[in-house]
Symmetry: C2
Subunit: 290 residues, 2 copies
């Protein structure tokens, strides 16, 4: 099977070149063509998934494909968006057969179908390491995208789901919740997804908004996943829950919990039950760049 044959198989799995949902031309030309709606802003995100860095070589190909797309979908969810199309770049070690590549795309496309994401293009290459990059494009009603730089002192801090879950479970991007947070009666002021740990992502939200945060230890302990420690819930990564802020008298949708509040103070400063909380989390660069 050469590159043309393989691309043809993937194209047919992705639904072919037929126009749908604004996509005028999918896999098979120099570029994909998309016709945007005048009522929507467009969201762009890219996310890498590298063997040995983001997952272990034992993960099956379909799960890798699912995970590669899910991570980017979580960012679209954090803006209140709806995914439209993705481009997938994949570099595959020479010893993996075409069946491995097709299983990867089956896993990715199963999640793509469930979330309304069209595979519109990509790039394949061979090297000695498994490397994947997903570019995702979503839409959001004009002017309504949820941002991380718009939280205000006095807002309450909310999260969805539970923190400190096992790394290797399937990711369920919070797309429905993100869209609910756009509702006027909920009045969400800012949102971010927790991909590198609550402490680090809250720090980013605080820095962007120029505010500080105080976390409620008792409320937080109730949201720690079964079998996880508070340390893991605070500083572990890969939770893919949404962290968002609401005005004081507003309540979050079902399945979300208030865990603290935003306060005036040194931008980025965080306290847990009065004690300083370090913005430690998953940092790919850490201390090794000089």
């Amino acid at each position: 099977m050469n590159e043309l044959d393989l691309v043809d198989r993937i194209r047919r799995m992705s639904g072919g070149a037929r126009p749908r949902e604004g996509l005028l031309l999918g896999i098979g030309d120099d570029c994909a063509i998309y016709r945007p709606k005048s009522t929507e802003d467009m969201l762009f995100k890219t996310d890498q998934l590298i063997e040995g860095v983001h997952f272990l070589p034992t993960l099956p190909p379909a799960a890798i494909g699912q995970r590669a797309l899910a991570r980017a979908l979580s960012d679209i969810a954090a803006m209140g968006g709806t995914p439209r199309l993705c481009l997938v770049s994949l570099t595959i070690p020479r010893n993996r057969p075409a069946s491995w590549i097709l299983a990867f795309f089956r896993g990715l496309l199963a999640l793509a179908r469930r979330t309304g994401t069209i595979l519109a293009g990509g790039d394949l290459a061979r090297s000695d390491k498994l490397y994947c990059d997903v570019m995702l494009c979503g839409v959001v009603p004009r002017g309504l995208a949820l941002r991380r730089d718009t939280a205000r002192p006095g807002d309450n801090l909310w999260i969805s789901g539970r923190l400190g879950k096992p790394w290797d479970r399937p990711i369920r991007p919070r797309l429905d919740l993100g869209r609910k947070l756009l509702r006027r009666d909920i009045a969400c002021t800012a949102c971010i997804d927790i991909s590198d740990g609550l402490a680090l992502d809250l720090h980013r939200l605080c820095l962007a908004s120029g505010v500080a945060a105080e976390l409620d230890r008792v409320a937080l302990l109730k949201r720690v996943a079964r079998g996880a420690s508070l340390e893991r819930a605070l500083h572990g990564g890969d939770d893919y829950e949404l962290l968002f802020t609401l005005p004081p008298r507003k309540a979050g949708p079902a399945g979300t919990t208030k865990i603290g509040k935003m306060v005036a103070g040194k931008p980025g400063a965080m306290r847990l039950e009065g004690r300083p909380l370090a913005p430690r989390g998953y940092d790919h660069f850490g201390i090794d760049i000089t």
Copy 2:
């Protein structure tokens, strides 16, 4: 320098988060936000650049950054498009310092500025191999994008520039030519960029359009780059010129040459001065997938 500091440096180099050219929000949130125009279709392309596969480790970082963007720009040119924004994913070996990364982005951003491309986001990671993926988004007037599946028997075949150029020279994407080909008086019927060799890319154009092609050996020999062979011009890669079709009585813009014609026949079949031409070129997958 940690990830936050490095991203902050790159963000400032890219022009910061200020809105411009439809980009409402650049680097620094979960997604970039772009507001499309109702008169335009959007083009999407992703292209990988891997050390040891697409370039030698001796290439300086600024040239790698330039090349990574240029390859994707060539695809936007082939659709008649104008680039708007890019997302850049970069995985860097642990032994390369932050100064290497910043030089890579200086090279990429110099070409981005010359072509009106905004760096709107990306992803950084550390691994043991240098790996880069550029996602590029461009625009084209509604319904006018140049495709590869619309050539007709009887059309003449044209190319820009010269073929068989050295692999390591800087790439100059043919954006101006692509936009010229949109003009009604030129009446371009199909277009593709030559990235994997004339023979292979012409084969793709023929397959997509369901036609065959006949090449004129004398005309082609005049377009072979100085010091290159006809073999290299036909089957070498990395030329990044445009290959396009025009109706019989139309002439291509300055700097382009007629090298053959499209004919009815077995889709994808090609002849050079009457003899069959094999669709050999740069194929990442070649024979090693089973």
